[in-house]
Symmetry: D2
Subunit: 287 residues, 4 copies
């Protein structure tokens, strides 16, 4: 575990950079100040990069567009690997047709619709359509009535032997500097616990997220895991997942892990990043 002062030194050591999104590139106030310089430097140095995110609430096109609105144009949809994309691959391989119930916004239903499947919002599940549902998806904590929706999810999973897919492994996420909100992964954990069945989870720290990005690179050139570094703000997802997949890892202190807590948390969790750096921002004087 080495302290690195300037993120430029990280970029110089690796050929491919994987970034977590929230807490690394952006936070509840918008872009992390100066992060656009990092992407200028990446372009200048012709380094490859991907955003690896547990965000299944929107499609890659919508996610990229949200960066463009904030002024970061370097992030195009093909650079974004979301847990929603793994969910979509699962549906493509394992659910050939029919209705798929989901918890989430209309936007999150994109992953279902684009495969020609028929999305049913959880609040619209009822006695008459229940028998036609082929899978249940947990996509987002927004877009449905929790009480009715969670009770419907429980009874659907008790009555039918169908797969339940959780497209976001996070249990909570920050909404302001002080406040958290329950994420759909937290709601799914409660439903799974009550129903007693095994749900399928996609998202960091699971290796399948990293493999998806790794495969995108291998499609156009040979690559060793030693050439890739994962950059994230959360020990339990970004760093644990990156380490397990065999990547070097950088913990940045611009999000979930505060500078004052970093040593205690690394020791307590036993999750050790290769490097610790204040942020993923390349300092201006460094070009």
């Amino acid at each position: 575990m080495k302290r690195i002062d300037n993120f430029k030194a990280i970029i110089d050591k690796y050929n491919v950079i994987f970034f977590d999104a929230f807490g690394v590139l952006k936070n509840y106030q918008g872009l992390v100040p100066g992060i656009e310089r990092t992407f200028e430097y990446l372009a200048q140095q012709k380094k490859e990069y991907y955003i690896v995110t547990n965000d299944a609430s929107r499609s890659p096109v919508q996610l990229a567009s949200s960066y463009h609105k904030m002024g970061l144009h370097a992030i195009t949809p093909d650079r974004i690997i979301s847990s929603g994309m793994l969910t979509k691959e699962y549906l493509y391989l394992k659910v050939p047709d029919g209705m798929v119930a989901y918890l989430g916004t209309e936007g999150s239903a994109h992953y279902i619709e684009s495969l020609g499947l028929h999305p049913i919002p959880i609040n619209e599940v009822n006695e008459s359509n229940m028998d036609k549902i082929k899978a249940l998806l947990f996509l987002d904590d927004e877009g449905f009535d929790w009480k009715d929706g969670l009770n419907k999810a429980i009874n659907l999973m008790r009555k039918r032997t169908i797969p339940a897919i959780v497209a976001n492994t996070d249990h909570a996420y920050p909404v302001t500097i002080h406040d958290l909100s329950v994420a759909v992964g937290g709601l799914a954990m409660m439903v799974e616990n009550i129903v007693g069945k095994k749900f399928i989870r996609f998202g960091k720290p699971d290796s399948q997220m990293f493999m998806f990005a790794y495969d995108l690179i291998r499609d156009h050139r040979p690559i060793s895991k030693k050439e890739i570094v994962m950059v994230g703000d959360t020990l339990q997802t970004d760093i644990l997942g990156g380490n397990k997949f065999g990547l070097d890892t950088v913990l940045v202190l611009s999000g979930n892990t505060l500078p004052k807590d970093v040593d205690t948390r690394v020791t307590a969790s036993g999750i050790v990043p290769t490097y610790i750096c204040d942020s993923a921002v390349v300092q201006p004087e460094m070009f």
Copy 2:
């Protein structure tokens, strides 16, 4: 583990009977048919009995009154031991004054008010009153907006070092013959998991429920645990709790545990009742 055909034989063996409520005396359709005969026989035989219930949504007076409305007049408030009463005892001993936030109906706030404490519905917690709150109570799944309420519960418990009390250990409860609903214990489990702090739980199978009833008896006469039997429909709460407290136990098949599943469930869980009986109903010909 012995099969008993008529519940009368159980009553004849013990001096005190503890009954679970839901699935034993009543279900979603009303009283278990014939259960009034059980209470006639108990009165005739001068046997003592108590209802030991994980229901903190209403006061003992309200709970008793709901039996009276269904036509069972034998159940008076002094016969009811609820997890709400343990919560009230905890507040009496450990929270001398101030505001107590709660998730539940206005009715459930009775346990707070009757002690002279000031109940605050979870949806009314805000920046201005948060610092005055002395405890958080999970009383009922009804009476509040889930999304706002659960997020407020999480942020309250993250910001303040105050006790959180869960007055119902059940994670779900039946609302019709086919459907479950998440109980407040299920919601509390999710909040506790996200917050990472230790909540205090009152309710079966915890021994404190049984002690409370046991103490009520000892207040007026000497009693041995060998004279008491616990009657319930759920292995994980009624039977496990009764066994651990040292009581003989009867599993009845009129609620959560169906006749076709009973052998598998006992073997799988390792929770063994002393007796198994179809229901807690005394057959008419038996008087």
Copy 3:
């Protein structure tokens, strides 16, 4: 949560003191220096006291004798409430006769033998006696071969539908200032997890431990929980259990919880003692 400089002030406020043993009265080096003064002061002030301990490895007589050897004569067997005593009460009420298998030393088998039951060390369980065994007890991590014993415990619990009792809820215990050892509660947790059945646990933080001590007092005089204080070194057992039972609690910093960690641990766990005090030692100048 108040800081108290001298433990004498605690004694002066309450009529009955419950003490945890390890980390409060003694540690791996012997008695906590000066602790005998606390018992002199208790005697002088005619205060009642009990040792409430998750130690089922020896009988109360043997436990008391170990204090006498260290020079503390105030602790007599009738002052000691151990999780082994709850296990014994359980056997007395629920296992009328036959063989009881156990993991532990010969000394720990005392709790079985004294009831006229037949103790079988786990390493002696075999095909020919397995069918006669009525219960399995986890008493101590010493006194048996772990590999053979744990595998036998697993297969016994898979084949037979009998109760398994864990007489020590601790998962590990300190053996030197630097080193831990797995406690029998840690071994039992692994066995329970593999077998998938529900084991019965006795020991703090469970209320039954506190009720046992509380009942001993009530046998000879009326008492309110407000007159009792629980003194311990561990938030998760002594303080959580004491709080839940409705007692005031004192966290002492002479054992598991170090002075430098106390604030972080209280905040992280949400378990709040009424008082914090360096140790349970009454300072000499205070008499």
Copy 4:
């Protein structure tokens, strides 16, 4: 979920077959009778196959050799994907040099030695070498003294901030038709729970096992996941893992899952195989 009478029909539908080892190809008595015909048919049909196993106790060469001794010569080391190989890849990528402590037999240390790292049996860890250890590996339940070894593993992981790798996710494994033995994954779970740090686990149902096999195929030809089927006897590892990776799956009833239990277990777990088949044996008349 379809019942298939003859395993030949499965082979005919797919281009690549992944087999679990224990309960599918062999059991405690040796080879599953007739399994050699399956491999004759696979050879005749020029189908590709791999053994995907949570066995890190021996190297692929040793594992293949054990099949040869039983008379199955079709299984060569290059066909075997073990969780030990993932562990080795992790060490190669993340632990460049130094000492690696391990729980397991001398044979299991092969994965460490072949990388030029220095293996230290857990029972030989002591104060003088502890500071040089770079990682702790859980490889096998055989080959070390449990009591001393598990206590050393706990204290090593408490004192040092190093990764702990669990090369077998199983908690127990069958040793005879009636008996289980604790697997090293069960021991690791206890150590992890006591230490409170996050260990890295390799083995089914984790996707990394399936990716490793998938990559071996892709090294020499293009392949779609739709051409691959996973065959296993355990819902929680083989079937859950295969499903999550997007493969079709076959549950065979020659091992962990008995014909009488299969419907209950599928419904209870919610883990649904694409097919159910008595065994992976191709019937003789079928050629």
